[in-house]
């Protein structure tokens, strides 16, 4: 008899605990889409064939799209997606374009006629301007998606690869031995 009470009591306590846990740790939405979206570079370029990174993430999650359709994400992106989805790595699909060095758009301010077409095309609102006024790119917000190039009627937008400055410079992989090594340690 005592055993039954103990079991009942346990069941009650655990049930309440589980109920609270379900309330406390409630997961909203599909976390898989969010996780895929976190890997994608958020260029919003649409090279994958979907109108943005989130739709592509949704398509991958639903099994409608392959993992190798994102050129800006590069090889590392495909590997990360393969690992997340538990599928075999495959090289980037050339149909969707090749990876390019990271660039930002630049508007030739002398040529710009202020038509606002590029402003409407920009997926991240990185172009500033008004009708019949010169437009300019907010370089720090530009993802380099190139979506503004096509609508421009006067072809005044060009893509500029991001220059290397002391600020974004990276130490290179050590292939050449450093000279100062033997006598006093590494440089």
């Amino acid at each position: 008899m005592t055993a039954i009470y103990i079991m009942l009591g346990l069941a009650l306590v655990l049930g309440v605990l589980l109920g609270f846990a379900a309330l406390l740790f409630k997961v909203e939405g599909d976390p898989l889409i969010a996780r895929i979206d976190a890997i994608l570079p958020q260029t919003q370029c649409g090279q994958c064939g979907y109108p943005g990174c989130k739709p592509y993430a949704t398509a991958i999650a639903n099994g409608e799209a392959d993992i190798n359709q994102c050129p800006p994400g590069g090889d590392a992106g495909v590997r990360a997606l393969a690992e997340l989805m538990g599928v075999e790595y495959k090289p980037l699909n050339a149909e969707h374009g090749a990876p390019k060095p990271k660039s930002v758009a630049l508007i030739d301010e002398n040529t710009c006629i202020g038509c606002t077409l590029c402003i409407q095309a920009c997926p991240v609102d990185a172009i500033l301007g008004a009708a019949k006024h010169m437009h300019t790119i907010i370089a720090s917000e530009c993802t380099g998606c190139e979506l503004c190039l096509v609508p421009c009627p006067v072809d005044c937008i060009t893509m500029q690869p991001i220059a290397e400055t002391p600020d974004n410079w990276k130490w290179k992989y050590p292939v050449i031995p450093i000279k100062a090594l033997s006598s006093g340690g590494v440089i």
């Binding site: 997926p123 990276k170 050590p174 031995p177 033997s182 006598s183 590494v186």
Partner: protein, 638 residues
């Protein structure tokens, strides 16, 4: 067993307390090679032909330029103002003209050009108005904000803006000020010479910093390979009881802030915390001196002591104006030896190769080593790692360098981060002891910059995602707003039309007595139609009745029936219907009454008494016709 360990550890710790020094794990003993540059006192040399002042001389944001090309500036005048929190100002090291603001090669491991201001000195050394501050009688926050304009940064090499370190934000209480004078790296002697020659000023500077921080005590840590500096400092501060000079054994890297704190205070700062979190703040001796000169004399940061050593003819320490070309400095030290291969800024352990001899001296330049093949022979090529873990034994920050090496080499950055790659101080002890001559620190630097770049990309991606989502939601919202506006406009148009209709209805010389209310055009129309139908019906009835009723009566009836044909109140359908019914009922009633009256009058009209003979004849005619018609109907009926 446990008690034995406790006993032994107590024995060891008591021994340590006696000496007052708490050694840290790891570290190496590289050959000091400091003697060469300490033989002669700190020298000066004539003002160079031009000074190149990079904007990037400190950790943090780039300062904002306050001058233009062609401006004449005085010595000590601010050229660039600190922008943002972590930033430092830049001042004119001497009087002269700003000749250009352009990109020049800066002393940076990348060898890339960056924005610089070029000053052509006029040789007059004309000072700007200096404003010394009576620091004892000033509120601390004012002193801190004035230090923001001083341009002083950590002169030990880290170049962190000093005003941030003395900020009295009340977040953490600083009880101990540590003055870093260990100068543990080989070749460098600038702090040593500074302490030998200017100990009094340093002590005054310590007093100021201690006042600013509100620290109760101060410990100066000097390595035992600088006996002259120790003697000089001890002499300068023997009268101050809160100030103590502690001699630490020569061991690289005891000059690292956390190692020095461990050595002097026996406090190990957790890897994710700062020294200020445990109530300790560390300043370099030269920085303290710069603070003294700024507050007491008003002189901003315009020069520093630089050790020029290695393959030069006269190794020496110089007081150098910021912006001085390296070439001028090397010439002042008697020129580089013929076989000089390259120049190293900083020490041999942590410094980097300068891209050329044409770079300027900046706030970070504590030492310039001219490398020659004898001093820095070509290292033997790296061999595979044999996992001997000598690097782990030498690591002063308790890392596993061999693991970090594997992860960095194989681009396994997440794993490297998990193994606390970012705690690595890049001291180079691991590379120094590596029997396979692997340039370990190079791998860590590579991995660190890759991780930093990835993190930045991730941040940018998050920003892009946020902006994209905002844009999509904005487009959606605008669409809704547009739809709403359209609906509103349509409604407004209808209302307008209804009003126009109502106005029209009023203008028509109708027998309408009631105004169409504003309920809408449809109701008005309906009501009008209904009224018309009603009228037609009434006419029909009247016509039917007039068979038996006299002409006058039928006329009267018609009038009476027509009267209610006014557009009824359109506001209420029910009411309209009731009104109509009432009217119809009344009309029927009247008709009946007339019929009855006519019957009573013997089928003769009531108002035929005084009619003219012509009219009477007409009446008779009509009566005859009626009688005929009646007969015909009766016949048909029959």
């Amino acid at each position: 067993m446990h008690s034995i360990i406790q006993f032994v550890s107590r024995l060891i710790s008591s021994k340590r307390i006696k000496s007052g020094i708490y050694p840290f794990q790891g570290g190496v003993h590289p050959d000091g090679r400091k003697e060469a540059s300490t033989a002669s006192p700190i020298s000066r040399f004539p003002i160079p032909d031009k000074l190149v002042l990079p904007l990037r001389q400190h950790v943090g944001y780039i300062p904002k330029i306050r001058v233009q090309v062609g401006d004449y500036v005085l010595k000590g005048q601010m050229l660039a103002e600190a922008e943002g929190n972590v930033s430092a100002a830049i001042h004119a090291p001497t009087s002269g003209t700003i000749s250009q603001i352009s990109e020049e090669v800066i002393p940076h491991p990348s060898g890339l050009p960056d924005m610089c201001m070029t000053l052509i000195p006029d040789g007059k050394e004309a000072w700007t108005t200096l404003t010394p501050i009576d620091w004892r009688n000033q509120p601390k926050h004012q002193l801190v904000s004035s230090l923001r304009a001083s341009g002083i940064v950590g002169l030990g090499g880290a170049t962190f803006p000093t005003h941030i370190k003395v900020r009295a934000d009340g977040k953490s209480h600083i009880h101990t000020l540590v003055i870093n004078a260990a100068e543990c790296e080989p070749y460098i002697t600038c702090d040593d010479m500074l302490m030998r020659e200017r100990a009094d000023e340093i002590v005054k500077g310590i007093e100021i910093v201690q006042f600013l921080l509100g620290a109760e005590r101060c410990v100066i840590g000097i390595e035992d390979n600088k006996p002259e500096a120790i003697a000089s400092m001890q002499a300068a501060c023997h009268a101050m009881e809160y100030l103590s000079v502690k001699v630490v054994p020569t061991l690289y890297p005891s000059g690292d802030a956390r190692r020095l704190i461990h050595l002097l205070l026996d406090t190990e700062i957790p890897h994710n915390k700062r020294a200020t979190d445990v109530g300790v703040q560390v300043f370099n001796v030269a920085t303290v001196l710069a603070i003294y000169r700024y507050l007491v004399f008003g002189e901003p940061a315009i020069n520093r002591i630089v050790t020029v050593t290695g393959g030069v003819n006269h190794p020496k320490n110089f007081e150098v104006l910021f912006g001085t070309p390296l070439r001028t400095l090397i010439d002042a030290a008697g020129g580089a030896k013929e076989n000089a291969s390259h120049f190293i800024m900083g020490g041999p352990m942590m410094g980097f190769d300068l891209p050329s001899i044409d770079v300027p001296i900046t706030k970070a330049a504590n030492c310039i080593i001219v490398a020659t093949p004898e001093l820095f022979p070509e290292p033997p090529s790296a061999l595979p790692c044999i996992r001997c873990t000598r690097c782990a034994d030498a690591c002063p920050v308790y890392l596993q360098p061999q693991e970090l090496y594997w992860f960095s080499k194989s681009d396994n950055f997440e794993k490297a981060r998990d193994y606390n790659l970012f705690d690595c101080i890049e001291c180079g002890c691991c590379s120094y002891v590596c029997p396979s001559n692997i340039p370990l620190v190079q791998y860590y630097r590579y991995a660190k910059s890759e991780i930093i770049a990835t993190d930045r990309a991730k941040e940018a991606a998050n920003l892009a995602r946020e902006r994209n989502e905002f844009r999509l939601s904005r487009i959606e919202r605008e669409k809704l707003e547009r739809a709403q506006k359209h609906a509103e406009r349509a409604a407004a148009g209808k209302a307008e039309a209804a009003k126009a209709e109502a106005v029209k209805a009023e203008q028509i010389p109708d027998n309408s007595t009631q105004k169409a209310s504003s309920t809408g055009a449809d109701d008005v129309k309906k009501a009008a139609i209904a009224a018309a139908i009603e009228r037609a019906k009434a006419l029909k009835t009247a016509a039917a009745q007039s068979e038996h009723a006299p002409v006058n009566a039928s006329k009267e009836k018609l009038e009476q029936v027509a009267a209610p044909a006014v557009p009824p109140k359109a506001s209420d359908d029910e009411k309209v219907k009731q009104d109509k019914q009432a009217l119809i009922a009344a009309a029927i009633e009247r008709a009946k009454a007339q019929k009855l009256a006519a019957n009573q009058a013997g089928n003769s009209p009531m108002n035929t008494d005084n009619v003219s003979p012509a009219v009477q004849a007409e009446i008779n005619e009509i009566d005859a016709m009626r009688a005929k018609a009646k007969e015909l109907i009766d016949q048909e009926k029959a």
